[in-house]
Structure formats: structure tokens, C-alpha cells
């Protein structure tokens, strides 16, 4: 009899619904746990994305520096540098020992689009040889050291045949440090800051010009006080 009563009370207890307070507590605990899990997931997801952004910065920095070093080491002369650009005698393609229009390259930083570009002229291969010879005229060192030798200043007349190669995107700062000043620069330092979302990375390197063409550069005094740089044969 006594055993039956206990059983029946136990059965009744099992059959009872939750009280309001139990429900509220259960919902609150579930909500707290749910919010904690959601918060943790979001934090981990953000951390993962940040990590990816940083790796992107790192890869951009590494690759761009390697490409810049390669271009600069092969260069024969640094014609000049500006706040966001440098122009250089890339190589003596025709082997005549002189500087030609298509042998000049400009490394330009487009602050607006945050891209770093290498620009040079490339005449269409369909042009006849005689026309190419006239178009690819030779430049004096004086012309090269003057700002107008920078390819970007030729945009109006050579626009269609200017070849733009994007070296890096998401570049938020770019500076060059020639040592000593152009055109007798022997080494050039480059500092670049890359940004991907909120992550930034600044990398810096330098390159010595291997061409040793600097030995052929001399300063020729003209009439009066003026003078200019010349490239000796």
C-alpha cells in the first residue's frame, strides 16, 4: 500500500509540466549559452579572416619586393625619382650602348587606386622595321634625367602603346630612397606598405644596380653656370 502511494506520487511528478519559473530559467540559460557560442564563433571567424588578410599582405609584400629587386638589379641607370615614381633605364635591348625610348621603364605608385605599376612603351610588332627605328628614338641622358623622360608624362601621345604591368595592389604607401642621387645612383631603397582590410604590413628592401653603367656617367659643364649629365661611350 505504502509502496503504491510512493509510486503514484512519483508518476504524478513525472507527469507534471514545467512551471513558468523553470521555463524562464531554461530559456535564459539556453539564450546565454547560445549567445556565448555565437560570440565565440564570430570572434574565431574574425580572427580567421584577419589571419587570411595578414597572409595576403605578407604574400603581396614578398612577391612585390622580389619583383622590384629583380627589376632594379637589372637596371642600368636610375633616371630620376619623384614622390610616387622612379624612372629607369631598364636594359639595353638593342645593345647599342645608348638609351632608347622603349628601354625606359617607370615604376609608378597610383595613390588613388592604391596600385604599384611598371610602365614602359611597347610598339606593335606589326610595325615595319623602319618605322620602329624612327619611333624608338634614342634619348640623351639629359632627357632621361629630366622629368619628361618618365613614361607617365608621355601618356597623351603614347597612351595606346603604353604597357602597364600591375606589380601590386592594395598598396597604401610607397617610397623610394636612391643612394646617391640619380643618375649616379648605385643602390636604391624601397619601402612599401600593404593593407588588406584592417591589416597592414610594411616591408623594406634595397637593390644595388648590377649594370655598373654609373661609371659611364659624367657631369658636363656647359656655358655659364649650367651643366648636365652625359653618358660617356
Amino acid at each position: 500500500m505504502s509502496s503504491q502511494r510512493v509510486k503514484s506520487r512519483g508518476h504524478m511528478k513525472r507527469g507534471q509540466a514545467f512551471t513558468l519559473i523553470e521555463m524562464v530559467m531554461a530559456i535564459s540559460i539556453t539564450a546565454i549559452i547560445g549567445m556565448s557560442i555565437a560570440g565565440a564563433s564570430m570572434a574565431l571567424s574574425t580572427a580567421y579572416e584577419n589571419g587570411q588578410d595578414y597572409y595576403q599582405c605578407l604574400q603581396t609584400g614578398r612577391i612585390t619586393m622580389a619583383r622590384l629587386e629583380q627589376i632594379l638589379r637589372k637596371s642600368l641607370l636610375i633616371g630620376g625619382t619623384g614622390p610616387d615614381l622612379m624612372w629607369l633605364w631598364r636594359e639595353d635591348t638593342n645593345g647599342d650602348g645608348g638609351i632608347n625610348l622603349t628601354e625606359i621603364s617607370t615604376i609608378a605608385y597610383d595613390r588613388q587606386n592604391k596600385t604599384l605599376k611598371e610602365i614602359h612603351l611597347e610598339f606593335p610588332s606589326t610595325w615595319p622595321e623602319s618605322m620602329l627605328k624612327v619611333a624608338d628614338r634614342s634619348l640623351t641622358l639629359y632627357e632621361v634625367t629630366a622629368q619628361y623622360a618618365s613614361i607617365s608624362s608621355f601618356r597623351s601621345c603614347y597612351g595606346p602603346i603604353m604597357k602597364n604591368t600591375v606589380l601590386a595592389e592594395n598598396v597604401v604607401d610607397f617610397t623610394v630612397a636612391p643612394w646617391p642621387y640619380p643618375p649616379i645612383t648605385k643602390a636604391i631603397g624601397v619601402t612599401m606598405t600593404v593593407r588588406q582590410s584592417d591589416r597592414t604590413l610594411t616591408v623594406r628592401s634595397a637593390a644595388k644596380l648590377r649594370g655598373d653603367t654609373v661609371d659611364r656617367v659624367a657631369f658636363a659643364f656647359g656655358g655659364g653656370q649650367s651643366g648636365h649629365w652625359v653618358l660617356l661611350d
Partner: protein, 179 residues
């Protein structure tokens, strides 16, 4: 009778709170779970910082090598020994390769050709040091002045080398026979 005693014991057991052991086990499981979830992300963040540090270190080491090989092999003022001469107070006074021997930069003073220090978390607390030594290569007579220098640039973080670059430089056409 037996059933009643069993049920009462069960009811009594159900009414008690958690034991200390149960609480400890629960807390340990929770702590382990949180650690297991967050540890890979912490490790990943640490790894990415280390990788950035290595990349920057390598760039800095290469930068210094390029700067050193841009100066003359021989001192224009005459024979010299590794290390700066008495009149060379700063790096900008160095006029030949061996002047860089023993040169080092610490903290936030690792400057480039523009004289600017590199900033950023990955560049923080790096040190850069240079060793320049004259060497003879195999088969070269040691009766002549050395015509090779070995340049080693090391970049370190908290005493641990993060990048080391070594370059052998030859003095072109400058072999000086000793009398």
C-alpha cells in the same frame, strides 16, 4: 519494503546538489573544450606574426647586403682593417666594405637608405648586425692581400636569429701583391 527503501534512496540522491568531484570534472571538461577551440587560433596568430617577422628580417638582411656591396671594396684612404676608421662615426661615413664589420642596430633604430626606421609590430625589437671578414678561397695563395670578403648580416628577435644572409664579394681587378 525493499522497493520503498530503493525509491527513497533514489529520491534523496536526486535532491542533492553536485558533489565537489562532479563540479571539478565539469569545470575541467569546460576548460579543456574552450582551450581546444581557442588554442589553434592563438597558435595561428602567433605563427603569422612569426612569419611576418621572418619576411621582414630577410628583407632587412638583404637590404643591408645590397647597401654594403654598393660601397668600394678597398678603402680610398689606403689599407684598412675590418671595422670603421677613427674618422667614421656613423654608417653614412663608411667608405668601403670592411667598415661595416661590427656594425649593429637595435630596437627601433634599424634604418634604411632613407634614414627612416621601420615601424610595425613585426619589425618591433629586431636587431641587425654585420660581420665582415677577409677570406682566402681554396687554391688562392695567402701571400697576397685577401681579395675576398665574406659579409654576414644577421637579423634577430630577442636573441634568436630570424634571418641570416652571407655573401662572398670579390675585389675585381684589385689584387695587390704584397712586397
Amino acid at each position: 519494503m525493499f522497493h520503498m527503501g530503493e525509491n527513497m534512496r533514489r529520491t534523496a540522491r536526486n535532491n542533492t546538489g553536485f558533489t565537489l568531484l562532479e563540479s571539478l570534472i565539469a569545470a575541467s571538461v569546460l576548460a579543456l573544450s574552450i582551450t581546444a577551440i581557442t588554442l589553434p587560433f592563438t597558435a595561428a596568430a602567433q605563427t603569422e606574426l612569426e612569419e611576418a617577422r621572418r619576411t621582414i628580417s630577410l628583407c632587412l638582411a638583404r637590404e643591408m647586403i645590397e647597401e654594403i656591396i654598393s660601397v668600394d671594396f678597398y678603402d680610398p684612404d689606403g689599407p684598412s682593417t675590418p671595422g670603421p676608421e677613427s674618422s667614421e662615426y656613423t654608417r653614412w661615413d663608411f667608405d668601403n666594405i670592411d667598415d661595416y664589420n661590427g656594425y649593429s642596430e637595435t630596437g627601433d633604430a634599424i634604418v634604411g637608405l632613407d634614414g627612416e626606421a621601420l615601424t610595425g609590430l613585426a619589425a618591433k625589437d629586431l636587431t641587425r648586425s654585420v660581420t665582415v671578414e677577409y677570406v682566402y678561397v681554396d687554391g688562392q695563395p695567402t701571400t697576397i692581400s685577401p681579395t675576398f670578403v665574406r659579409i654576414t648580416v644577421e637579423v634577430a628577435y630577442e636573441g634568436n636569429v630570424t634571418a641570416s644572409v652571407t655573401r662572398l664579394v670579390y675585389a675585381r681587378d684589385s689584387i695587390v701583391e704584397e712586397g
